[in-house]
């Protein structure tokens, strides 16, 4: 498993670097709604990966691994993550790439993340009794929640992304 992870990560890092999505200025540009480069990258990855994965799954060649929907955890944890992201200007994965590009302020973020993860591990018993238990709906997918076929949602996601891309380009975002 480990050499495969390294090779996949190398290729991922190359794509992140070439797409210019690693930089603080780009990440903050998206959060300030001025430069949508990272949103373009993310949505392109999501819809392309979605089409490929559902085709692979239909052919019996891929198994899905859906994370549980726990609204308390997803919403509170998500907002807390966002607040830290706005301050740091890198994501957990992309900061390693930013460091690789020479943006060495990412090293402070990496150290902070190791410290934050250690704190999370200490507080886990408390968290699991509270926020991690609030609004637990189990492993849910959007097709199951909405009661529609994924093959309806996938074209909608693609179409919606293309509309958004067109708007970004018109606005010069």
């Amino acid at each position: 498993m480990r050499p495969e992870g390294f090779v996949t990560g190398m290729l991922f890092g190359l794509l992140l670097q070439r797409g210019r999505v690693l930089r603080y200025d780009r990440q903050l540009g998206a959060l300030l709604l001025r430069d949508m480069t990272i949103v373009k990258f993310m949505l392109s990855a999501i819809v392309t990966g979605m089409a490929c994965l559902f085709a692979l799954e239909a052919a019996g060649m891929a198994r899905f691994d859906v994370k549980a929907t726990v609204l308390g955890a997803n919403i509170i944890g998500g907002l807390v993550f966002g607040a830290g992201w706005g301050l740091l200007g890198y994501c957990p994965g992309t900061q390693l790439g930013a460091l690789g590009e020479g943006r060495w302020d990412a090293a402070w973020g990496i150290a902070g993340m190791v410290a934050g993860a250690a704190l999370h591990a200490e507080l886990y018993p408390l968290l699991s009794r509270t926020v991690l238990a609030w609004g637990d709906f189990g492993r849910r997918t959007l097709p199951a929640v909405l009661g529609v076929s994924p093959w309806l949602l996938i074209p909608l996601f693609i179409f919606g992304s293309l509309l958004l891309f067109r708007w970004f380009e018109r606005k010069g975002l």
Binding site: M1, E4, G5, H120
Partner: protein
């Protein structure tokens, strides 16, 4: 914000690809990874494993007593190597394309908060600690929830990704204001 990387390139910043192309290739790569090893890209659990490994070097007995480290074992796994690979892939790509640049303080940060390394270090360290704490509660980060989650049309991926951006937009606006900073 008018300058797009496809049309204008700063000197010493070669090799940029369209974010649409790079993103689409990242989507194909994610699907190929699932086909190859069954592993979906993610990053945030790696920091829990790294914290456990660091703590074990200092105090092995303590790690044994922490319940979380029995669930998330402090050891190198696929995702850990994936995250390490991102560093080397970006380094190689930046060096080969001539866009590697040692920088202590990002341009936008400098324009608002000045060139001081200490100030940036404190904010980045605190931001990293807060971000990972939230990501571990949410159950993932923009790669695990955002990319890998939404690719599978997971409900949690959509909720988490929306909240990542809401929290991020609020703090970015607090730091830079609506129209300032550039």
């Amino acid at each position: 914000m008018i300058v797009r990387q496809s049309s204008v390139r700063a000197p010493g910043d070669g090799g940029a690809w369209s974010p649409y192309l790079a993103g689409a290739l990242a989507g194909i790569l994610s699907a190929a990874s699932v086909l190859w090893t069954g592993a979906f890209p993610g990053a945030s659990t790696t920091f829990s494993r790294a914290a456990g490994m660091a703590e074990r070097a200092v105090s092995p007995g303590h790690v044994e007593r922490v319940e979380y480290f029995r669930r998330v074992v402090p050891a190198v796994d696929w995702q850990f190597m994936f995250v390490v690979g991102i560093f080397f892939g970006a380094l190689l790509s930046a060096v080969l394309s001539g866009s590697f640049r040692l920088q202590a303080v990002p341009d936008l940060w400098r324009s608002r908060f000045g060139p001081g390394i200490g100030r940036r270090a404190a904010a980045a360290f605190a931001g990293g600690a807060i971000a990972i704490f939230g990501a571990r509660i949410a159950g993932g980060c923009p790669s695990g929830h955002g990319l890998s989650g939404l690719m599978q049309l997971s409900a949690s991926g959509l909720v988490a990704l929306a909240c990542f951006f809401l929290g991020g937009i609020a703090v970015a606006r607090a730091l830079y204001g609506r129209g300032r900073g550039r």
